[in-house]
Symmetry: C3
Subunit: 500 residues, 3 copies
Amino acid sequence: MRIFSAQAWWAAVGRLVPAAVAWSTMGLLWAAEPPLSSETEECVFCHEMVTPGLVADWRASRHSRVTPSAALGQAAAERRVSAEEVPAPMSDVVVGCYECHGQNADAHPDSFDHEGYRIHVIVTPKDCQTCHPVEVEQYSRSKHAHAWGNIRLNPLYHQMMRTVGNPEEPVEAAPHLAATPDTEVCYDCHGTKVEVQGMRTRELLDGSEIEVPKLLRWPNHGVGRVNPDGSLGACTACHPRHSFAIEIARKPRTCAQCHLAPDTPAWEVYRESKHGNIALSMGEEWNWGAVPWVPGRDFKAPTCATCHASALADTDGTVLVERTHDFGSRLWVRLFGLPYAHPQPKTGATDGIRNAEGQPLPTTFAGEPASEYLLTAEEQKIRRDEITKVCVLCHNTDYAQSFLERLEAEIERTNEMTRRATALLQRIWKAGGADPANPFDELAEMKWVENWLFYATSIRYARAMGGPDHAGFKNGWWALHRNLLELEKLARESEAQAPK
Amino acid sequence: MRIFSAQAWWAAVGRLVPAAVAWSTMGLLWAAEPPLSSETEECVFCHEMVTPGLVADWRASRHSRVTPSAALGQAAAERRVSAEEVPAPMSDVVVGCYECHGQNADAHPDSFDHEGYRIHVIVTPKDCQTCHPVEVEQYSRSKHAHAWGNIRLNPLYHQMMRTVGNPEEPVEAAPHLAATPDTEVCYDCHGTKVEVQGMRTRELLDGSEIEVPKLLRWPNHGVGRVNPDGSLGACTACHPRHSFAIEIARKPRTCAQCHLAPDTPAWEVYRESKHGNIALSMGEEWNWGAVPWVPGRDFKAPTCATCHASALADTDGTVLVERTHDFGSRLWVRLFGLPYAHPQPKTGATDGIRNAEGQPLPTTFAGEPASEYLLTAEEQKIRRDEITKVCVLCHNTDYAQSFLERLEAEIERTNEMTRRATALLQRIWKAGGADPANPFDELAEMKWVENWLFYATSIRYARAMGGPDHAGFKNGWWALHRNLLELEKLARESEAQAPK
Amino acid sequence: MRIFSAQAWWAAVGRLVPAAVAWSTMGLLWAAEPPLSSETEECVFCHEMVTPGLVADWRASRHSRVTPSAALGQAAAERRVSAEEVPAPMSDVVVGCYECHGQNADAHPDSFDHEGYRIHVIVTPKDCQTCHPVEVEQYSRSKHAHAWGNIRLNPLYHQMMRTVGNPEEPVEAAPHLAATPDTEVCYDCHGTKVEVQGMRTRELLDGSEIEVPKLLRWPNHGVGRVNPDGSLGACTACHPRHSFAIEIARKPRTCAQCHLAPDTPAWEVYRESKHGNIALSMGEEWNWGAVPWVPGRDFKAPTCATCHASALADTDGTVLVERTHDFGSRLWVRLFGLPYAHPQPKTGATDGIRNAEGQPLPTTFAGEPASEYLLTAEEQKIRRDEITKVCVLCHNTDYAQSFLERLEAEIERTNEMTRRATALLQRIWKAGGADPANPFDELAEMKWVENWLFYATSIRYARAMGGPDHAGFKNGWWALHRNLLELEKLARESEAQAPK
């Protein structure tokens, strides 16, 4: 039998003893016999057989154990519901199938009759806000909520998607390849516009049939999903069904579903950073569910959620940084080049931005920001201070400021590289080596995009989160420099072949 | 001392209380003083000193604690041995060194005399099948079992390996580089053909010497290893020594030893999918060893094993999906393009497939499937239904079907891209820009291979498992499109230089 | 409530029972009321408010609980301090803020007055060696300790950094881009030279101000950091603050902060190896803190630390492999091509190496090693035997030797590829397609570097640690071969354009 070290023993004791102290209050919160609504009881009765994994997952969730009124009885800082009150009868049953899928039935074009109940498949922020209105309101202001329109309604980004791949409308050169309404790849993260097209019949595996709404561009759990009820967003993007666990949302792999190299390498940079090393090495010993979340006690190094979303408190429970579900609200600068890094946009919906040349971009090709649509220096300082509050929970101010200043210097330097890449593309356009009519459909143009979208962005992310390889050999300075040389070769070839 | 949350307390209680209930039966199964054979006792006596890590690993394993007859006494669905009976005296001792390394001595060309015993180094499926015959039989039908021959005996794939790297036979241009029989890289995953070349003397670190069989192309644990006893496969590919733990095989990193980007990006797609996020975030709380495996209770999101191999049951223990060790048997379509995606082959051994043009490929260069060797539509439906059974454990049928239909649409679209890439290569061949005699040894040819082997495959995997970035910027539509433009540039250059 | 398997129960019992046995000795070591120095008490009093996360992290550390004299009372093999004695008064208080940040104040140019104490920000190996002198001495001999000078003082490597990216001095073509002293990317891993430039005033978030030393090129935790006190290294590179946990250093993600693809793909290869699979799948059940570390009992598969650093013992506590903090001291060959793989250098400081042609490289362009500076065959054998000692803890000698011999064959074959790539570059230089004056600033030159720095290295790492994909499709033979074809195309183009 294996012998365990002192640490293991302390860890075990540490887990049990304080929990025992907390026992009495827990008994009040997590009911031994949680009261289910009669509707949910009926749902569970069948679905325990037809989708047993789903029901078992929900049974292990907080939703299945706690009634809204019990949740409202918690101390303010520890509360996970932000409603002032939750109407009866919902307040006195746990949050079960019918409480979500039966709510606001008339507002849901995807409502349908199923075993005597009117239910809808797609639970939306409008449903969740019954208990979580503050989170829904904050979220509605974020770029996340507008992620569908931010690409679909921006004519330039839409052109890029149409050109490069998986077009949602027929590409001229290959009309037979018109994607079905369900196959747009960018929208897996950004969210689709889900629409109801009447009802359809589906054959079950046992040969029987079921009538269900025909949902276009479904399944989808993108952050900016346009729901049939008109609401924006999918809470399940970060709180996956049917546990909806805060623990998952706080772990970095949730963000890593989308924020990935080469265009937004947050996860790759994080996991190679010191923060990521500590979190991924020691996280199994941390308390991922505590509300509020206490740095140093509940966790030892930040994850994405820590810096960008969570409420953080000291060991006395005093909240030092407020929770937000507007995930950009602690950010002052946008590292993601379009094509240059620039101050964060004022609003989550960015499709209306126009630069000085009338293009739907936050900067011109020369790098001038579309300032009217972007944060002012004063607004930037407020946000920069907000995230610095998180840094100084564990680092001294000089350390934090020096770190951020180094990032700001790197932004300048990478923006200069975008200027060089753009100048090379303009030489190629001028020599006739590519046609600017569509700036995404030729090799030189794709290489230009890679310069700012992949490499400059990667270097900035690496600086912002301390994962140096993505500023070096991994899509960093090495790749950026080589890309410039490749663009230069294309420029020389174009000029050699240009009509005199 | 740190304070833990309610969840931590419930988790701790959840771990201990039910286990206590299960205590009495466990006492019967895991003997306090497990009976070792006298041979194994002798092995252990020395090897505890010479390879202490190996012995300690085995001591912590199920094999070291449970006798086959105790294992056979388990309820059918919970049994980990599939034999009807295990012959004495093996049935009444635990599975120790000698039970595996001393079994079937005469069948093993690598048997040798060692400290008074005739043992063999390489334990094979023929040994394992004494207790696990159903698994061995299923496995023998899989592409895994035939992974060596599927590349070594296919003249086209063999030519690719010879050309591109790490050739096992002299490359014409560099005969001095003939690989030793041990250095073929593809075979690390596919398995080598291990052969015995008499005995050799090895010097130990203390200066003494030992006589052991000289094994060519060893060590190797590839899935299709051709063993000295003629059997196919290495159970240790997924059940690594000397714990052979089912927990490891069920965790996704086991498959991630081989199923990796850019050619088979199963792991990369999985870890960025919602399933992967949940499993990698919360898996430390799951029960990875339960047989059968209950979705929602033992685990909350599937891993590779869940969908492709494991026996899955409801909480009453009723098995809903049967276990298989023929890992393709729940698959109807092969996403891996050769060069086009196509129906799964009928048999695990694919080296005999010939397309309509006589090439050893499951499709022609124009995309026509070699239907004679591939599943019929009826056979495809049976397999598609089988994997859908797994989906509907947690998702409704409409959700699952819409998901699969989207994959099927993407297969069509990516296959069309392979048609375009092939047409470009044929232009280059026609213009003399490359020589089709060896379709793998020129730049245009390698780019053509990347189009279908890397990018089209990647997009399909991303759709099949819901990790969208591998259909987008990570070896997805972006890379596929750029690759087509690069091929087109090579075609234009070739045509400009072609003799008029 | 979920039911847990037999394994879970045994695991739980295994964790608690032996720990209880160890309880009495632990009580003596980890004091219930750990004695803090009065200085540290004052530090904590304020910093619990201003940097609460930092203090809480330290409180959970071993440093906060154990006094040096208690640590010295441990049995020799279990001791974590290597000093023979620790002077009073430090020996009888736990290792708190002031014990590190107040030590050797006069030796630290960054010492400053802060709330009545003279403290320094940057704790260095010279401070750590009060308790850990053996580790500091070993480390000082390693390439790690000299990582700054090894690139900064080597004129060729320095030229590469200046050319490719993030230059620390003005690049001729873009003097306005001269990096600030804080933005050199290579130094994030290699370490910066931190210098003190007087004092500066920093505004805190509450509007108040603080006077602190102005530190150039800080923050930085690179392994070869040149500290203001002249010492080399940052222990925090691997033992991050403020837990300094051995558990973190032993987990592979610590090394993965720097040893990353494409140039040193140790992490990527490891995580795809069988060792990595086992460690990353089962590590949550292992004892990461035991000293010494017992393979098979405390852990089942090696991590980076196991093979390259840790003291390893059998279950009786007999140390079989000695601990080292000179991380190259178990390595006989350097896989990292410069440009060819070669015997490890004799000393950690490599900037003085000159090859037969006078270049600061360990091999010539033709592959001849600079033998005067490199290990002799005898010295190589000693080191090769040392790491083989680790292999044979779990594998038999024939297995280990065959594995290493296969690596050695692959080194030969990849070195031959570097010869081919170099010959192609020399054709390009000869034809005027690139200018050898700066061997890093043209496309052909960057591709040549990628051949040996990325692809040949990757193949060798894959062979050394058993993660085959990095020898195949992931920066392996496929990429190496394609790269040669691209270089050949550039050579042909250069020759076609060369003046006759």
